[in-house]
Point group: C2
Chain length 373, copies 2
């Protein structure tokens, strides 16, 4: 239960008036302070914010407002390693390798289910994968999507980074180029950004910028934004549209849902521990508020149409909606979708979940609306 | 801290693999079950959802990612009366009256600040207010907005219901008709809905439906949807567009944020207590899942373009995004905006907050895009 003993002591009558006025008025958003002041000088509401909201412990049930597949995903226990960070280069590499091997083991089934082939390539010296669906939709013949994978800027090297690209190629009927960008511990910032921009520049040699879409989830969503910031600096044209899912646009611990959804998001837990360590490893001493690390602090004027995705339990819900507001304030056509009950990036957790198909339907429709042909 | 003692006992090696795979993979949303099964038969992840997420108690700081005005609103203590419900008709009326008097006392200042006049009227026997800005924008001369006020279907009778209409008239340069619909305890369902539809029908006698927008917050947002459901049943044309803020589209206790944001939302606290009592009072014995009470269960095909608004701390975040998804799935052009750190309806709490202006700018732009002229 909440504690009220931190409230200021005021006369009983004042509180009665304040309480009644509050219930009656805040539902319509009335400024309580002015209302109460106007109504009764006896009721004084603190003008200085008293600070933090104390929330009691609780058990949050699995919602029945999502598919059975999504219910199973939401019901998973908290990731037990969310707070454990490697301390040596060897430990980082072991963690990356183990995770990548586990992930890659699941890819053949997904490629087969979605009828998608994956071929490794090199573009201007940068490793990449060309991800091709069995049938490219007619309107997509002259279009290319550039994929920047997630994994907190450290995980998912090589083939492990192609999973989301396979889903987009399969669900969307698009040819996708997935960039196997360099990562720490060997290659911290700006290696990943250099690689992403290099591949984008290569793609522009054969494809009109208006026909190119860029997309990514989590760190890949943030890298999509920083790629655009760098493209602007280098006077490259903007792509036709971008799709960023729960983008980690702020490497500092800023954004309300980092607190409200801490230990509610069963994928990430909190931004401390492992995630904090990956940010520092990537930044390599650079100011975390540098816009090329945290694009929420960048100038997004002139960005192309953007669709952003998050979930109500997502640790990065706030950073997604902050970026959405920032884009809107800059006059960018930006569309937001938030998924019921989902933690970080769970809209692509299970290929068989109806939410996964619906997510891709929305993004594909958005690309189709905004990309050139 | 989370409790892990409910996890199944598995061999240590299995857990190590599972943990490493988890960190490496779920950031990209991999289906952990299949990955781990493929990697190690020793690691068994429960196939039956273990149920609720246990979240420890915590103190959530006031975010610095919003305006100073909004920080003050977010820092307000929890409404102390959220869990107190009247038990007699006399108690209900006293609560309604006290709240309305307090709210009305603040209206002259707002009308003056926004240069808006309010006149009471009657339309086909239904009480209403005509809310007129000093300057109606040229493109809005042949447009009318219909306003359905909030207040959990019980509060804000008479002039108290006009506050949101004053804001929209002032910020948007629109003529607004605010319906003073009948409410319990004297007039439960369907009186409010009858009144809303009656006024809509009256407006259609002088204004093309395409030139009419309907908007409301909370109960007013839900009543906007049920008005459309009834209009469809009565073969009335749809309005040109609607705007619904944190609409209470489900009177049952359904929607994940009713649990995740319980005691986080400082306006509503929880859906139990007072709010539950108002729903039962309004429903008057009718099934709470009736679409005319809970429009999330209705058929929204053919609905006009809709802009929906919520906040990351909003108790009704889930019901807002559920309705957004339902509209999108029905092919409706539906736009979502979610405000950083805000509880229920705080985007209209303080007329001077930049978020209040930005909210209205978005809604007004949306109406301007979709309404006829």
């Amino acid at each position: 239960m909440p504690r009220f003993n931190s409230l200021p002591v005021v006369p009983l009558f004042g509180w009665v008036v304040a309480c009644l006025a509050f219930v009656g008025s805040v539902l319509l958003g009335v400024n309580l302070v002015s209302v109460v002041d106007a109504q009764s000088q006896q009721a004084t509401v603190p003008s200085v914010p008293p600070g933090a909201r104390e929330v009691p412990s609780r058990a949050i049930p699995v919602p029945d407002t999502v598919s059975p597949q999504m219910q199973a995903i939401i019901a998973r226990p908290m990731n037990p390693a969310f707070n454990v960070a490697p301390e040596t280069t060897a430990e980082w590499k072991a963690r990356v390798d183990t995770a990548a091997r586990a992930l890659v083991a699941g890819l053949p089934d997904i490629r087969e289910a979605l009828d998608v082939t994956v071929q490794s390539t090199t573009m201007a010296g940068v490793k990449a994968f060309v991800v091709t669906p069995m049938a490219i939709s007619p309107q997509n013949r002259d279009r290319v999507l550039l994929h920047l994978h997630g994994g907190v800027r450290v995980l998912n090297p090589g083939e492990a980074g192609t999973r989301e690209a396979i889903l987009m190629a399969g669900f969307g009927g698009y040819k996708v180029i997935s960039v196997d960008y360099r990562m720490p511990p060997d290659f911290p910032f700006p290696a990943a950004l250099d690689d992403a921009v290099t591949v984008y520049r290569e793609v522009l040699k054969t494809t009109n910028a208006q026909n190119v879409g860029i997309f990514g989830t989590s760190a890949g969503g943030s890298l999509t934004f920083t790629t655009l910031l760098r493209a602007k600096l280098e006077h490259l044209p903007m792509p036709g549209a971008i799709a960023t899912g729960t983008p980690t646009v702020d490497l500092t611990k800023t954004g309300d849902s980092l607190f409200t959804n801490a230990m509610v998001d069963n994928v990430l837990g909190t931004q401390d521990g492992f995630i904090r360590a990956t940010a520092l490893l990537y930044a390599n001493g650079r100011d975390l508020k540098d816009p090329l690390l945290s694009p929420i602090y960048g100038d997004v004027h002139g960005f192309p149409p953007t669709i952003l995705t998050s979930g109500t339990r997502d640790l990065y819900l706030s950073n997604t909606v902050r970026m959405h507001r920032k884009l809107r304030a800059a006059g960018v056509e930006a569309v937001l979708q938030v998924w019921e009950g989902q933690s970080h990036a769970q809209y692509i957790s299970d290929v068989s979940a109806p939410e996964t198909k619906e997510y891709h339907d929305e993004v594909v429709r958005f690309f189709d609306l905004h990309l050139g042909r």
